[in-house]
């Protein structure tokens, strides 16, 4: 049995445990060429896909099966223009390929993806990868776009010229996947015909560096040669060496050669890049043919409006207004429906269960907390739908293009605007997205200000406060939209202002360049947008079912115990007497100048975990207070709350101040954790908590005190 060839024993039957190890493929290519789309098609996973460069910023391992049912590992990687990495995301790709990441298996084989519409530039990275001497399969993606723009690609000729499998593909439609799977299943893959002449001017240096990298840095000869070539096109050798610094000998050799070339006037990097492109141009001569004249594409026509000096702003403003309007209109129905369902559940419990602590835990603790939060699900869905549209059409890169001028005023560039825009959804993906920023200081500044952009977790807080803002009256929708826009504008202005301040003081540096690719517009795949939207909705619900549920239960406990000695005491007195009440009272002196009472104080403390917890906490606290009256909604309960003297707590001014507090304050443990990881330490996250919450306090103090002085 064990003598049978492996393709027979492997098919259908269980593979013997000692079978050769699972092959690992790395997916490599320029940014935005469709790597994650292909990865998802092969593995069935849901890596985020978007139409702008720099969507994927971390490796992701998935699995697929070969033609014979054997598992194959695939690693999706961030896009890179060159192996000489310029930014942290490109460094991830380089390090995985060169086997420098201890948490990732070194890929045995490489799946290079190129965009058929600009083959030459895409082949530059492929050319560098072929230096590594590992089996490569070349996937020519976006064949549909090449065809519609009148490009004819002779894939068969490319295959002949390179001597490796070359597969034409349309990852979005799943075309070419079968052929790709077949190629990936081959047990023997040929090495590419890859003979190019390293330019004479630099050849001796490459040889010397290669020898030193083999002898002093422990690289294998092929990797050493590839790395020697990379060293010549990079001006930051520390970064090229990645985690392990280069040996002194290698650095010396490089420095000596660079000095020599500078003296001679040799353009070593340019010569090297130039000779790669010369080889690529030669390769492409018979392969790419432009047929027919090319007029302006659809993408050009759309851009003529979207990036127009006047219409551009109209489109931008229109999209924003539409977004906020739909939050207050479309979302209203489903929101009330969810609210009614939770209310009737609470009423049913109250009717069927005997009065007591358990009933109180269920109705006030769980439904009061979690139930309040999930009524905001419709708004969260709308937010993610809009962001998904921005990300998948190609507008994201245009926004960066339009905003670059303003960003340069604060010392950043338009690329920093993409992470900031993502932060409207959630600061965590926003902070991850800063990995595409080349300059470490600019990246840090962007990380520091990203949480000032109003994220989806603030939405429930804003909505609750807007609802409670004007007692008794129903506000026109446009006023609500206006207040909401004001909050978003305030956060954005804050982000810009602090970026300006940090770039001028703590993290001085030259304004960065703005080299960015603008992808063509694409009709967003409804699947991509919907998948992402429901995935985020799922996360939101999971958070409601875990963190918020947990905090609500703990908070219910802390507001219920210890019991007031007088069992008939009013709910307010009970809460005041409880652990939570005491904590609230303890911080009241600090927040009283902002117009906040101790009950708001409890919410401020609990919402350090996450901002939406403020809303669930108000639900627990004020739900309990109004326990005898089932019909009160949280909004009415809030409006009834008074100070000891009888003055209302949630006046218009206080609601407004509270919203502003949440615009600025750093109230999110997950963000703190991500900032700590991305900046390698506690220094910056602590600084961020300090400056943001400090600003929140100061701004609220000014607003509240001014408002009071003006008689509000």
């Amino acid at each position: 049995m064990s003598q049978l060839p492996s393709h027979i024993t492997g098919s259908g039957k269980k593979r013997p445990a000692h079978a050769d190890r699972t092959p690992v493929y790395a997916l490599v290519g320029n940014p935005n060429c469709g790597k994650s789309t292909l990865f998802n098609a092969l593995t069935g996973l849901k890596q985020k896909v978007g139409n702008y460069p720099g969507v994927t910023v971390e490796k992701k391992i998935g699995e697929t099966y070969s033609q014979h049912g054997k598992p194959i590992k695939i690693i999706d990687l961030p896009g890179a223009y060159s192996l000489a990495a310029r930014s942290p995301d490109e460094a991830v790709t380089r390090d995985v390929l060169l086997g420098r990441r201890s948490d990732t298996p070194q890929p045995d084989r490489i799946l290079c993806i190129v965009d058929a519409t600009n083959l030459e530039r895409n082949l530059y990275l492929v050319h560098q990868i072929l230096d590594l001497g590992r089996p490569v399969i070349l996937v020519v993606n976006m064949m549909d776009l090449a065809e519609s723009s009148g490009l004819q690609l002779r894939v068969d000729r490319l295959e002949q010229a390179l001597g490796i499998p070359v597969i034409a593909c349309e990852a979005v439609n799943g075309k070419g996947l079968v052929e790709l799977k077949l190629a990936m299943s081959r047990s023997d893959l040929p090495l590419a015909r890859h003979s190019w002449d390293i330019p004479v001017a630099v050849a001796p240096a490459v040889a010397e560096l290669q020898a030193s990298l083999t002898d002093n840095d422990g690289r294998s000869p092929l990797v050493a040669r590839a790395e020697a070539l990379l060293l010549l096109t990079d001006f930051d050798t520390v970064r090229v060496a990645g985690s392990t610094p280069l040996s002194a000998r290698t650095t010396d050799i490089l420095a000596t050669w660079q000095k020599h070339w500078e003296g001679e006037g040799t353009d070593w990097a340019g010569t090297l890049v130039g000779s790669r492109y010369a080889a690529i141009t030669k390769l492409c001569v018979d392969i790419v043919q432009q047929t027919g004249a090319t007029g302006p594409t659809t993408s050009d026509k759309i851009d003529a409006i979207v990036v127009h000096p006047l219409w551009g702003w109209v489109v931008f403003g229109g999209v924003m207004t539409l977004f906020f309007l739909s939050i207050f209109t479309f979302a209203q129905g489903p929101m009330e429906w969810i609210g009614d369902q939770t209310a009737s559940l609470a009423n049913w419990l109250k009717a069927t269960m005997p009065e007591g602590d358990l009933r109180s835990l269920l109705t006030d603790g769980i439904i009061g907390g979690v139930g309040t939060i999930i009524t905001f699900l419709p708004q969260i869905l709308i937010l993610y739908f809009f962001i998904g549209l921005l990300e998948n059409t190609g507008y994201m890169a245009r926004a960066a293009f339009i905003m670059d001028r303003l960003m340069s005023r604060v010392g950043l560039n338009g690329k920093s605007f993409i992470p900031l825009l993502s932060s409207y959804a959630c600061a965590i993906p926003g902070i991850m997205a800063t990995r595409t920023i080349e300059d470490p200081k600019d990246r840090l500044v962007t990380i520091l200000v990203a949480p000032l952009m109003s994220c989806s977790a603030r939405l429930p807080v804003y909505l609750l406060m807007i609802a409670a803002l004007l007692p008794g009256t129903t506000m026109p929708v446009l006023t609500k939209v206006g207040i909401m826009l004001l909050m978003y504008a305030l956060g954005t202005a804050g982000a810009f202002g602090f970026a300006w301040l940090f770039k001028r003081t703590l993290l001085k540096g030259r304004p960065p360049m703005m080299i960015m690719e603008l992808p063509p517009y694409r009709l967003p795949g409804i699947k991509d947008v919907a998948l992402h939207m429901f995935e985020r909705a799922g996360l939101f619900l999971r958070k409601a079912g875990t963190v918020i549920l947990g905090i609500s239960i703990v908070l219910w406990f802390l507001t219920t115990y210890p019991k007031h000695p007088d069992a008939t005491a009013a709910a307010t007195e009970q809460i005041a007497y409880s652990f939570a009440g005491r904590a609230g009272h303890a911080i009241e002196p600090v927040i009283k100048p902002l117009g906040f009472d101790w009950r708001i104080g409890i919410g401020l403390i609990t919402s350090f975990a996450a901002r939406e917890v403020f809303v669930s906490s108000m639900g627990v606290i004020f739900g309990a207070e109004s326990a005898n009256d089932d019909t009160t909604t949280l909004r009415v309960a809030l409006q009834k709350a008074t100070w000891p003297g009888g003055a209302p707590v949630f006046t218009t001014l206080v609601c407004f101040t509270l919203m502003v507090y949440y615009v600025f304050a750093m109230q999110c443990m997950s963000t703190v954790a991500v900032v700590k990881r991305e900046t390698n330490g506690w220094k910056w996250p602590l600084f961020q908590i300090g400056y943001m919450t400090g600003t929140a306090w100061l701004v609220c103090f000014v607003i509240y005190q001014t408002g009071r002085a003006l008689g509000y």
Binding site: Y81, S82, A84, R86, T117, N118, L119, E120, R121, Y124, L151, T233, D234, F235, D236, D267, A269, G270, V273, G274, Y277, D300, D303, A304, V307, H308, P309, G312, W313, F401, I402, D404, R405, L406, S408, G414, E438, M513, M514, I515, M516, E517, L518, P519, P520
Partner: protein
């Protein structure tokens, strides 16, 4: 022979060939790696609404550059 001028001075929609640009500096090496080499045809597509950056087309894709960088690149018709 055609006179050389700056890339930033290229008229809207006009295509020219890159002639020369600074040899060192990470930005310019990266531009080379992205296919902007002496002799590459490049078309000026548009400026951003606020005047900067500029959008160019080369080798089948669109690239943005600030005016400041484009001023350091010379072209010939």
């Amino acid at each position: 022979m055609s006179a050389s001028l700056k890339l930033s001075a290229l008229a809207l929609g006009v295509t020219a060939r890159v002639k020369d640009f600074p040899k060192t500096g990470t930005t310019f090496v990266r531009l080379r790696e992205m296919g902007l080499l002496p002799g590459t045809p490049i078309t000026f597509i548009r400026a951003a609404p606020l005047g900067d950056p500029l959008e160019f087309k080369l080798r089948g894709y669109h690239l943005t550059l600030r005016r400041e960088e484009a001023e350091q690149i010379t072209i010939e018709a």
